[in-house]
């Protein structure tokens, strides 16, 4: 019985292999890009953190997400935020070359490439109702609030509760439960 099975099996396997290879080259699919996952996390932070009313310059002011330096998401952040609300306000994304001139934002994303300038950037946001989100150890050591990182193939995040408290923001219990707690 075992001997008669093999040829049929081999043919089937060959057929399946040929089919899947043909499919693969035809579909040309792609894995969920890192940027899309990261930006989805950033969106979630806008939903699970509570900003005080005083964080916004006016009643009709939008919710501003600022990025310092070169955009590591290649436009994915705008795509993720398009048409969405945070604190009941439309979300807009603004890009700044450096920290000096940015004003009136509620969430600040600091890419890893800004590690050299991280102290200066975070100094601008310190103690104000701004959620800082970064990618590096240096960012957390410098007083960042939330860090996104990849571990064992999954995106995870750290939160420094002292920094969040000092910013007068409130992170939801659910967010804190899923987060790694970071203490300096």
């Amino acid at each position: 019985m075992g001997d008669r099975r093999r040829p049929t099996w081999v043919r089937t396997a060959a057929a399946i292999t040929a089919l899947t290879l043909a499919l693969g080259s035809w579909c040309g699919g792609d894995e969920p890009a890192l940027a899309r996952v990261e930006t989805a996390f950033i969106y979630n932070f806008t939903q699970f953190v509570e900003w005080p009313a005083a964080a916004f310059p006016g009643k009709d002011a939008p919710f501003v997400v600022a990025i310092v330096g070169e955009d590591p998401f290649a436009g994915a952040l705008e795509q993720a935020m398009a048409g969405k609300l945070a604190s009941g306000r439309p979300i807009v994304v603004r890009h700044y070359a450096s920290a000096e001139r940015i004003e009136g934002y509620q969430l600040l994303f600091v890419p890893e490439a800004q590690d050299d300038a991280v102290a200066a950037i975070l100094a601008k946001a310190a103690g104000r109702p701004i959620l800082t989100v970064g990618q590096s150890d240096a960012f957390m050591r410098g007083g960042g609030a939330v860090r996104l990182f990849v571990e064992d193939g999954h995106m995870k995040f750290q939160i420094d509760p002292d920094v969040v408290d000092a910013s007068k923001l409130k992170a939801s219990a659910k967010l804190m439960k899923l987060a790694r707690i970071y203490r300096k």
């Binding site: 089937t12 396997a13 089919l19 040309g28 699919g29 894995e31 996390f41 969106y43 193939g153 995106m155």
Partner: protein, 677 residues
Amino acid sequence: MYRQVMAAATVCALLFLQAVARGAAGANGVPATQPAAPVASPAVEPNGDDLTQLPLEDLMNVEVTSVSKKMQSISDAPAAVSVISADDISRSNYSTIPDLLRLAPGVDVAQINSFAWGVSVRGLNNEFANSLLVLQDGRSLYNSLSGGVYWDTVDYVLADLDRIEVIRGPGATLWGANAVNGVINIISKDSRDTQGWLLSLRGSNEDSDLSARYGGRLSDDTTYRVYLKAKYTNDFDDARGDSAGDDWYGLRGGFRIDKHPSDDDTFTLQGDLGDNRIRQATTVILPMAPFSAFTTVGRNDATSNLLGRWDHRSGDDSDFSLQVYYDYLKTDYTTTLYDQNTFDIDFHDRLKLGQSNELIWGLGYRLVNSDIHPTLELSDSLPTRNDNLFSAFVQDTFTLQRERWFLTIGSKFEHNDYTGFEVEPSARLLWKPDKQNSFWAAVSRAVSPPSRIQNDVRVLTLFGPTETEIIGRSNELSEVLVAYELGYRAQPAKNISIDLTAFYNHYDRLQTLHAGAPISTTPLIIPLTWGNQINGDTFGGEVSATLRLSDMWRLEGSYSLLETHFASPDPENLTTAIRDNGSAPRNQAQIHSYLDLTRDLQFNAGVSYVGRVPEFNVPGYVSTDLNLVWKPKDSLEFSAGVTNLFDNHHPEFGVTGGQGVASEVPRTFYAQVTYNF
């Protein structure tokens, strides 16, 4: 066979249609419209690709290791490595750890009966396969009485497993004795990643289990979890379809505490207790005529362990780990009453020396205290033994040319109380001509020292109509392997990865048994003495490939070939080889499809072929496994499926002694619900 092929073809056709629907909808980055899937869920937003609509918990489960990244890290290893991820585990039909190992390429998993498995890589399979090293969270699961692993005692809350790493080929330079044909690392999640309640209930026609886990926080930087798992496995059928009478209950519980005082330090303390109550069929030797009886006896396998570990990272390329554990294992049935206490301490350190050297070194000590409570069948003139194992290793990776050529050379040095001093060196060369391709080659030496049964134990057993007395000998030697391996990994396109390996293994001093003049005539008892009389060669290879057809659909396939040529023992000396040429299948192949029908519904399918096992005259078989996993809410998961769809039951292996009798692996329909809160 025709039915299997048709079913496989139908499944493929369905998957194909799915892909067409998804491929067409998702092309050019245009937001996918409602997919033309037969199972369309109203929960799918018009913008189905929008990850922001995923619950945060699910988002944390999205696999972000793209094929390229995974390849990058694995392609740095000049060895045949594969990983069974938490996602693979949650999408699988299997409810036991040995069965999950079927998912890895080149692993030969042969279930013997409801509670015993033979698991091996690249041949030499046996119910006590002693050439595969198995570790659970850094703790060796080897039983030093007969070698191998009592797989019924290896369990966990499967949702709390992080991954299972499978290394094919020798790993003795780092892991030491018994890492001859492969190494398996079963790794559980950090307790900070298992916070809250998890309740899981599984039911099937063959097994059912209930798991409860709670994870909490002791302080800002310290988390813990505790768990309890109860399971029942029905008796399997024998070849005639009658009950093999091998049902069993298992109960286990445990905890894990992790403290992260800084980003660079992790302290882990964990422990487990397990107790299995098994019915097993056994031949019992009787002191008078008819001298033996076949009967069903109760068996108790118990385990416990406590482990502490400190991991410290002192930089990007340097870290150390200090681990201490205690492990207890007991197996108790009419003919065998054995327990062992293991105490182990292990330290290893990795550091960068200059620009081009990365050094790993380590030291270890293990004490195994084992007790044989004498029975008529199994006894030892010295019931209690204390065996010491001292070990040290050093391995250096030289960068011969930056980002291109790497040479890894190292050796383990061990001293054990059975065979004395053992050296297990290896040399590995890695060439990465570009980011998409890597080639590696390795030569390594590894040993399997004799287990206690070969050394000083007297076993009285029935061998056909004759009783035999198997006598250990104190000068039994280690089996020695010299392995030559070649590997190639490639990522020809962004969504395809391929892994090829070839090996040639030469074994020396393989175990044999030598018959002597009868020591009794009524009953006839023939003495058998252990020896190391034969040599042998195996060669073969493994091919595996991953294909991501889209965000929603991944295919994984593998094929492995094994040719075994062990020398024939000398019949004049009445020699029997323990290693059988036919203990493992020549061919194995499998293909798995992981498809997300909608955001909360997965359809997973697998077809695997395992060739004939000549030693036990077990025919080859094809197993088709299907399941659906539905996650209606963040916290709730239902899954249901069938394993071994086209087959009532089939045998996979046989028994050579000790683990009851062989029975047949049945078709299994299962349903499972998991609730997280």
